[in-house]
């Protein structure tokens, strides 16, 4: 996506060279999110409200449906059975397909500078028609196996590409005392996309956001930074619908590159398989559901540096991207919480996560793109949501990212990633599969400062945005 931004020239002012990557980052961080899919409703014969409070937030039943491999179905099946009555085939007579369309408009408090003309400003009021169109194959594939597979056209990329994918095998055992033990395996391309709660990054608030507003400039690795850039396999158990544990491992699996990954691969390549873990405890009592959990991941990444920075003289050409030697290590440790109150006509929820990343930047320091060896990056988010009759409601979300100051690694004027603010959203659902949302995001600090964060007079509040989105899924 950075390729769409012109390379800085000798005449490009400094603020523009600083702003260009910052403008690209939000798009990376706010990559299209996966959503609720009506093909599940068609497959199970159950209305959206069985699995969702308001899509895409899951209810306990929705979590069990996901843990169970998306396979509960009530459609007529094409079957094949052996003499021993073993099922060889069980195919729904309708393929579990869904379509999703998002149309949006974004107004920034102050337009961002023109990305090519030094004195110009970009147009304010960005209509995205569509912002995103996705096709899903979401449902049962075979008796034990289900899929959530999303292909997305995005107006920012202008192309169709693979989006979130979660292929599952799941099974269930009845233990003594009628306790259930669900277990399974997920193959997916975005750490936490397989998670069952809405407090983790992949399915956390905001479920949809503008791709033309400026987002939070830096994120931890597990916080969406590696979505659709890796592939992983994880195994999980869910005991008594209460205790959840998962262990997995990811490798780089880049799209748009051919053959074995080599020095032509931009964006950072995992040097070794990255382990992922997740534990959670959920308790349900009456209309209340509470989950406390922790998750984490450890990454060893080659820095996204082209050329040979250690050569004499350093060169940026002829060597491609680093794919050997030392790597940077990122250790992400996160805690999360989710509380839901589900009743009629009120539904409310509170989600929170705190992600702390410890960075050991051996390779980046050697390559001359980081100043400090040991950095940290910490993100916290809290979201409160309320809906009346699952029809009208909204959410308030507070977010904060703080981290080490690094003159080379952090490309902001202050060399700090610190950004915080609030997002408020009002939504109206005329039908359960149609959501009209108005979202306002206000920054109290951006890239380390409240005022003049870019050194050219732009304040954090200039990035405040008003975003309208119509979200249809059928």
């Amino acid at each position: 996506m950075t390729a769409t931004h012109p390379m800085p020239t000798l005449h490009t002012p400094r603020w523009l060279t600083l702003l260009a990557p910052l403008m690209a980052l939000p798009i990376l961080l706010y990559a299209p999110l996966a959503t609720a899919v009506p093909s599940f409703a068609r497959q199970t014969g159950m209305a959206c409200a069985s699995c969702h409070t308001v899509f895409p937030e899951l209810t306990h039943f929705g979590r069990m449906f996901k843990a169970g491999g998306y396979v509960i179905d009530n459609l007529k099946q094409v079957k094949d059975m052996s003499l021993e009555r073993r099922e060889n085939l069980s195919l729904s007579d309708l393929p579990p397909l869904s379509l999703m369309i998002q149309v949006s408009d974004t107004e920034l408090a102050k337009p961002v500078p023109d990305s090519a003309r030094a004195a110009g400003a970009s147009q304010n009021g960005t209509v995205a028609f569509p912002q995103q169109v996705s096709i899903f194959y979401a449902g049962k594939i075979a008796p034990h196996v289900g899929a959530f597979l999303q292909l997305t056209y995005g107006n920012d990329s202008g192309t169709i590409g693979i989006d979130n994918v979660d292929l599952r095998y799941a099974d269930m055992r009845v233990l003594p005392n009628d306790q259930s033990l669900v277990y399974g395996v997920s193959l997916n391309n975005n750490p936490t996309v397989q998670d069952l709660w809405n407090s983790t990054p992949a399915f956390g608030f905001p479920y949809v956001s503008s791709n033309s507003a400026l987002g939070i400039p830096y994120a931890t690795q597990i916080d969406g930074s590696r979505g659709q850039d890796v592939a992983g396999i994880s195994a999980y158990v869910f005991w008594k619908e209460s205790v959840y544990a998962e262990l997995g491992v990811y490798r780089s699996a880049k799209q748009g590159t051919a053959g074995p990954l080599d020095s032509t691969s931009a964006g950072g390549v995992l040097a070794t398989p990255a382990p992922y873990w997740r534990v959670a405890y959920e308790t349900n009592q009456g209309p209340h559901s509470l989950m406390l959990g922790a998750y984490g991941m450890s990454f060893k990444l080659y820095p996204d540096v082209a050329g040979c920075p250690s050569c004499d003289p350093p060169t940026t050409q002829g060597y491609g991207h680093l794919l050997g030697g030392p790597s940077d290590q990122f250790r992400d440790l996160a805690f999360d919480l989710q509380y839901q109150f589900l009743s009629e006509p009120h539904t409310a929820s509170l989600t929170a996560t705190h992600i702390h990343e410890t960075q050991t930047l051996n390779a980046s320091v050697l390559a001359g793109v980081a100043q400090r060896l040991d950095n940290t990056l910490t993100t916290s988010r809290v979201t409160a949501t309320y809906y009346y009759k699952r029809r009208i409601g909204g959410a308030v979300n507070a977010f904060s990212t703080t981290g080490s100051q690094d003159d080379l690694y952090i490309a902001t004027t202050t060399h700090l990633p610190d950004t915080r603010g609030l997002t408020a959203e009002l939504s109206y659902l005329p039908w359960l599969n149609t959501k009209l949302s108005l979202q306002y995001t206000a920054y109290s600090k951006y890239a380390g400062l409240k005022q003049n964060y870019d050194g050219f007079g732009r304040n954090a509040s200039d990035n405040n945005s008003l975003y309208f989105v119509a979200w249809l899924a059928y």
Binding site: M46, A235, V237
Partner: protein, 234 residues
């Protein structure tokens, strides 16, 4: 699907992570994949042998998410099934399957869940829940408002409201509210669920002629009172 776990030759040479770690993870994954009863075996339409064991698998694997492991739901709007009459359960599952029971949650949840149940599965599930022990009612609040509700509820349940033509519920549901034949057990049922059903009988979204006649003149507060009384009954 496993190709991305195969390390490229050059990465293998350079990798600082011992390969046994990856192998151990894959092995652990493999150990979690015994080819036993499928989740889908527990799903309604995929049960070639609807035995009592399969009913338990279905009840624990699918129904339990809402109705609780032994039919004791802890969600107020989802009914307790444990100890419910077998004939009543069978009739309701058929009503969901044939889409003749039309209250809101029946449409939203149960029409889908019951659509592909076989007659044999319905019988086995009904037996499973009817033989499960009914819950012990929660301790009743001693607040005056609740006590008054229970007194009113008990009066309506046992004697009806004569001047408005509301018969005593106990005439059909039994003096202990444990149900009789096709008439369901109401004792220790969630009050919120009972109230919701009384309302749906009244507005005929759940179209049962007898219950519509009984509930026509009932006021909301009276429904809540009966429901509160029944929830507290053992």
């Amino acid at each position: 699907m496993t190709c991305y776990l195969k390390l490229p030759i050059n990465a293998r040479r350079r990798s600082s992570t011992p390969q046994w770690r990856v192998s151990a993870l894959l092995l652990a994954t493999g150990l979690l994949l015994p080819a036993t009863h499928a989740w889908s075996d527990a799903a309604p339409n995929a049960t070639p042998n609807a035995t009592p064991n399969a009913a338990q698998q279905l009840a624990v694997g699918v129904c339990a998410t809402c109705h609780g492991a032994r039919g004791i739901s802890n969600l107020p709007k989802i009914p307790v099934l444990a100890g419910q009459g077998e004939a009543y359960l069978t009739a309701q599952l058929h009503a969901f399957k044939t889409q003749t029971r039309g209250d809101a949650d029946a449409i939203g949840y149960m029409w889908g869940m019951a659509a592909d149940l076989t007659d044999e599965q319905i019988l086995n599930l009904s037996h499973y829940y009817s033989t499960a022990a009914a819950p012990t009612p929660a301790t009743v609040s001693t607040r005056q408002a609740v006590t008054a509700q229970i007194t009113l509820g008990a009066h309506i349940y046992t004697q009806g409201i004569a001047d408005r033509g509301v018969p005593a519920c106990s005439a059909c549901h039994g003096p202990d509210a444990h149900g009789l034949g096709d008439f369901p057990r109401l004792a220790s049922q969630h009050a919120a669920y009972i109230t919701k059903q009384l309302l749906s009988f009244q507005n005929t979204t759940r179209d049962v002629a007898v219950m519509h006649a009984v509930t026509t003149t009932l006021k909301n507060a009276e429904m809540t009172a009966v429901a509160t009384y029944l929830q507290a009954l053992p």
